[in-house]
């Protein structure tokens, strides 16, 4: 009984702890300017939608949303397009030095961002990639590939080899085996990888700040961060914009959740 109580308490603490800042921001976004600045803070908002209006129209939030959707979308599609075949090969095809490649991928993803910021900037400057969206997509794809490949490779490894052999006997080429048999079965893994990649590139701030200097190219995190003027921090607008920036992610995750059901491969071998 005490154990159960502790468990419930622990869950409550964790959930409250992680949601509290977000709830505070949601509340703030609905406040009036006076309520935002009130000391002691006022808890319940009475302001309505005006901060949202300001964020959307005065601060051009929609153009940032557009940029972010483009960058995160392209990153996700590209990372999957490269990651899926790579993961399949690493999981299944007999290959010399496979574990070195997988280990190398892991090592690459451990480099601190600060350490590679300079070289990345120099490289992009050389190929005129600064202040372009593809100049941002390129490093994003590179950074997310190790994770995508690791997730998918472990997923492909789980699928029974007999299925591929059956496909081979049925007349599939390796590519057809991948697209017609393995991919549908790896759907949960693919969605997981896609969501993680999308969230990463949606939220990424540092490289966006480094590469994009023109305001019309800014992605959401960058745009929101640069709301602040010289003398004021527009907390209300920031809060409203942050809520708007988070909603698509929440929406996507909820939408894809039903695809991320494991056990789709049940019945392939004995059930």
């Amino acid at each position: 009984m005490t154990q159960r109580l502790l468990l419930v308490l622990g869950i409550l603490l964790t959930v409250t702890g992680s949601l509290a800042p977000f709830v505070w921001f949601v509340l703030t976004s609905f406040k009036t300017q006076q309520e935002v600045e009130a000391v002691p803070p006022s808890w319940w908002p009475s302001g309505g939608w005006h901060f949202y209006r300001a964020a959307l129209f005065d601060h051009h939030l929609l153009s940032y949303v557009g940029n972010s959707v483009f960058v995160a979308g392209c990153t996700t599609v590209l990372a999957l397009a490269i990651g899926i075949p790579a993961a399949y090969v690493l999981a299944r095809v007999k290959l010399q030095g496979k574990s070195w490649i997988l280990g190398g991928l892991l090592t690459v993803s451990m480099f601190p961002q600060m350490a590679i910021a300079g070289p990345v900037w120099r490289l992009l400057a050389n190929v005129h990639g600064l202040n372009t969206h593809w100049g941002l997509i390129l490093p994003y794809v590179t950074f997310s590939l190790p994770l995508v490949i690791w997730i998918l490779a472990s997923f492909f490894k789980e699928l029974p080899a007999e299925l591929e052999e059956a496909a081979q006997v049925d007349g599939c080429t390796t590519w057809q085996t991948l697209t017609r048999i393995m991919l549908p079965l790896a759907t949960p893994g693919i969605f997981t990888a896609a969501i993680l990649t999308f969230i990463y590139s949606w939220n990424e701030f540092f490289f966006a700040l480094l590469i994009l200097t023109q305001p019309d190219k800014h992605t959401l995190p960058l745009g929101i961060a640069l709301f602040q003027g010289e003398f004021t921090i527009p907390w209300g607008e920031l809060a409203a914009a942050s809520v708007l920036a988070t909603l698509p992610l929440v929406f996507i995750v909820l939408l894809c959740q039903r695809w991320i059901i494991s056990g789709l491969s049940a019945g392939a071998v004995k059930g």
Binding site: E162, E165, A166, D170, L185, G267
Partner: protein, 367 residues
Amino acid sequence: MADLELRAISKRFDKGLVLDNISLNVSDGTFAILLGPSGCGKSTLLRIIAGLESHTSGQVFIDGAPVDDLSPAARDIAMVFQHYALYPHLSVRENLAFGLSMRKTPRHVIEERIADTAQLLNILELLDRKPKDLSGGQRQRVAMGRAMVRKPKLFLFDEPLSNLDAQLRTSTRVELKKLQQRLGATMIYVTHDQVEAMTLGDVIVVMNGGHLQQADPPHRTYLYPTNPFVASFIGTPPMNLWQGTLRQEGGATIFRVGDLELALPPFALNASGSFAGPAVLGIRPEDVRLEPTTRPAIRVEASIDLNEDLGADQILYCSMRGEPLVVRLSQASLISPGQTLPVSLPHDKLHLFVDGRRINPLPNSDP
């Protein structure tokens, strides 16, 4: 429908030779069983025939044409896997259609074939289900169906019944045999179950340690095993086998094991003209006679250690001067442990192996 020929197939993995110079002919319409303990190379051989595994040397012929360089698909074979390997995201109907549509078979032909096969296998009502909604036996049928709709030259089975429970296995075995006779198909079937091998096969190919031991019809394999391994591997309880030595003494051949000496009937002499040295003598439990017999036989005393009553049969565990002897009686008898009985080992039922090869003459024609 086709015949299969293997010529001197060898396979070497990193750890060593798993198949050593296997040659085999399977004629059209034959149900051939690859039988052996696990690790004997039978599954590897099947996968080489399928093209899923490459061989180090040798050649595979289907219908007289070498297929070594062909992909599994181009060999026109169908395989039923141990775990069925049904595509989980496709319905039964789509599973059956998959191989045909990969081969660009016209739609109406596919539908016709699926209908025929589903009818034959009694899976019509399962066609729209997913594999996860099927029982083990139903999955097994669908896996069979997926092989049959293609009408391949050769059916390959990799222990297809090993995941079914005992009762279902027996009934599926019977159905499979009927099916094979009806289709007249050439089938290669891997199993480690000697009952499956005996009941299903037209030919049993016994393998051990990567070597082909014997390839004969079941009855012949049972009655005339070519070496001690085959003799011990087929039959329950297994054949009595004694490792002993042979010597010639006054025109008679004496087999000695421990304190026991048995006078053997005059077998044909081998090339060197005499029998001397190590040898293995065997007799099947059901061939040992307890009742007096007038047939030429070795007569010896045996004391009963244990009596197992299996209902239809009785298994007696005896010893002859310390050497174990198992006897199977087909009728009930009141024999109790501790008794000593005279037993007869009929000459024509003895199996003598020297240097791992059978010495007794084989009959000229099949029994």
